[in-house]
């Protein structure tokens, strides 16, 4: 197992696009803004964000904004969507550059996507999913504009997605899934509405997700995967039940998924690495207070010092 190869992971992120073969690069072209968020947050957690030309990043991010609606697309010239708008806001938060943002315009875009029942659509085409409730609430909170939406209705919609096992699905009736649980618990934490969560019941469901190999899975009878080190763990922290899992075993599982030669973290041991799982692995270790890694905020998915700067001006 050994230690976290922090240097190698940082190098992997910095040179990721060069290493990718052509096909892999083109299939992620449309979600490059998500990729930028995963990569930059990982670098910051590893104290390496200084290695990036921040001006270049900021100017590219701003080119992904759709000037008419105020929302951001996954790349320059792409249609705006809440998923990318949150990534854009998170990247600018990371770099302390809200000054380049027309906050009112972005917040208006987000607020307009709220539906009558309190839910959020991801874009003008209307797909509804709790993921978008989280994106909207996280984004507006970071921008200090939560008052632009009907928070009570948003919270009630999320609460209506609670299942018999204490978990949450994407819409009312949808199966509990750790990724959806993160979104719902995160949104409820940000809005101060965690009283809607049955913490003991959900906490037990979440800690049942720890498999024999130490890793966490997203649903019963599914294999463990490094990405759930983030979704499950952050949820457990937000509801104050993280001590119910075996952190040592989980740490070992994540460290076993490292490519120790070329950097990067994969979904499971000996699989191919990618930037998505590298982020989730490092973020998971951060939640478990692994030495050297900066702490990450479980609700905003940003380093704690960034969140403190935004909300407490320090």
């Amino acid at each position: 197992m050994g230690e976290l190869e922090a240097e190698k992971h940082a190098e992997y992120i910095l040179f990721i696009e060069k290493k990718k073969d052509e096909f892999e690069a083109l299939v992620i072209e449309h979600l490059r803004l998500n990729g930028a968020y995963w990569g930059l947050t990982t670098l910051d957690l590893l104290h390496k964000i200084g290695a990036v030309d921040q001006e270049e990043v900021v100017s590219w991010v701003m080119k992904c904004q759709d000037k008419d609606s105020g929302g951001f697309g996954g790349n320059i010239g792409h249609d705006p969507h809440l998923l990318y708008t949150l990534s854009a806001v998170q990247v600018l938060a990371l770099l302390n550059r809200f000054d380049v943002l027309d906050i009112e315009k972005v917040s208006n875009y987000v607020a307009r996507l709220q539906n009558e029942d309190g839910s959020f659509s991801g874009d003008m085409w209307g797909e509804v999913d709790n993921r978008f409730s989280y994106c909207a609430i996280c984004c507006l909170s970071l921008l200090g504009c939560l008052n632009m939406i009907n928070v009570e209705k948003a919270v009630n919609f999320i609460a209506s997605c609670k299942n018999l096992d204490g978990g949450f699905g994407s819409i009312p009736g949808g199966e509990s899934h750790a990724g959806q649980i993160f979104c719902c618990v995160g949104a409820l934490a940000i809005t101060g509405c965690l009283h809607h969560v049955d913490k003991d019941l959900l906490g037990w469901w979440l800690c049942e997700r720890q498999c024999k190999d130490g890793g966490l899975s997203g649903r019963p009878e599914k294999l463990s995967d490094v990405c759930y080190s983030w979704w499950v763990l952050s949820s457990l922290i937000m509801i104050d039940r993280v001590h119910w899992i075996d952190k040592q075993k989980l740490t070992r599982f994540i460290l076993n998924c490292q490519d120790k030669e070329n950097g990067g973290i994969s979904d499971r041991p000996d699989h191919a690495v990618d930037v998505f799982h590298t982020y989730f692995g490092v973020a998971g270790l951060s939640l478990m207070e692994y030495p050297v890694v900066k702490s990450i905020d479980p609700a905003y998915a940003l380093p704690v010092d960034v969140v403190n700067r935004i909300f407490f001006g320090k």
Partner: protein, 333 residues
């Protein structure tokens, strides 16, 4: 759909197609100094360059539709292409049944792609209730390949609630659970049907038969987490009924005495005790028998004993069980 062959060797570049000669392709603007330059594959780059040109010109034509077909085949995750495709379909007023055949093919190869499922929903909405059976059949096909595909389940629930088709849904859940009793998605769907189907009479009416069904599933596989949770769900918000229904405590007893995997039985018994359940002597004896095989558990009340056994047999969650032990209600047996 000219020149959109799946065999990439036969592909004719747009620059060599006469019907596209009036279009000037528009390359992706990656900014002056791209943060991370991307090396695009040539045919993909060309297709996207032509796509950008018709997209910016907002050209809603037959050839634009064909172009999005090619672009979607190359990268079904590109969501701007799908959005534009919908605009073109709406403008051209084409027969959407053909569109469904196209989406069927793409979706079978990319069954976890958000854009495709969203497009499907848009399409079904346009087609209305007549689409219900087709959509249920299609999701069934996807679920036959991956019984836990979250997108397929979400789509299926949406179809049932928006377009109807509840008639066979309960039987469908039974079939899936017969195939694999560990399929948590199917248990979730069963709960969805029992609580929401307009044809079954609701949770109250179904409870008795559902408890019997679930108990059988548990006895066949006592280590299966899903039916244990389903069983609790059947008594949602009604703990009095949960502790007074003999079926439940008898089930725990049977599993404990069967000497098989009894973790979930103990866990449910613990909940029952915490809700005020008064166990019969036989159940206490069964637990004590387990305790004897777990040395080091002190002589104490039944709930404490249950917790101590769980702490030992489920070490990865021992902190959870010891928390339960230290938080037992005052009057617990």
């Amino acid at each position: 759909m000219s020149s959109s062959s799946d065999d990439e060797g036969d592909r004719i570049p747009f620059s060599a197609r006469p019907e596209w000669s009036d279009i000037r392709p528009l390359p992706q603007d990656d900014g002056p100094n791209p943060v991370a330059p991307i090396a695009y594959r040539d045919d993909f780059r060309e297709t996207m360059d032509y796509f950008r040109a018709v997209y910016v010109a907002d050209e809603r034509s037959r050839r634009a539709l064909d172009l999005t077909t090619e672009a979607v085949r190359m990268n079904p995750g590109n969501y701007t292409v799908w959005q534009f495709r919908r605009l073109v379909l709406e403008s051209l007023n084409v027969d959407l049944h053909g569109e469904r055949d196209f989406v069927d093919k793409i979706a079978l190869q990319n069954s976890k792609n958000y854009q495709i499922w969203h497009h499907r929903r848009w399409l079904s909405q346009k087609l209305g209730p007549e689409a219900a059976n087709n959509e249920l059949e299609f999701t069934k096909q996807i679920l036959a390949l991956d019984a836990k595909n979250y997108h397929a389940w979400s789509h299926r629930q949406w179809v049932l609630q928006s377009l109807g088709g509840w008639e066979n849904e309960f039987r469908f859940c039974c079939e899936l659970l017969e195939d694999d009793s560990f399929n948590n998605s199917a248990w979730n769907q069963r709960y969805f049907v029992v609580t929401r189907s307009p044809l079954l009479g609701g949770l109250q009416a179904m409870r008795d038969s559902e408890v019997r069904y679930t108990a059988e599933a548990i006895l066949a596989n006592p280590h299966n987490e899903s039916p244990w949770r389903y069983l609790r769900g059947l008594y949602k918000d009604n703990t009095d009924q949960l502790i007074s229904d003999n079926q439940v405590s008898e089930l725990c007893l049977k599993v404990l005495k069967a000497n098989s995997s009894y973790l979930f039985a103990l866990s449910l018994l613990l909940d029952l005790l915490c809700y005020g359940f008064q166990p019969l002597e036989e159940l206490c004896t069964a637990v004590k028998a387990l305790r004897n095989s777990e040395p080091g558990t002190a002589d104490s009340n039944l709930a404490t004993t249950v917790c101590l056994i769980l702490e030992t047999m489920d070490p990865i969650r021992s902190n959870y069980w010891s928390w339960r032990r230290s938080n037992l209600p005052g009057q617990v047996c």
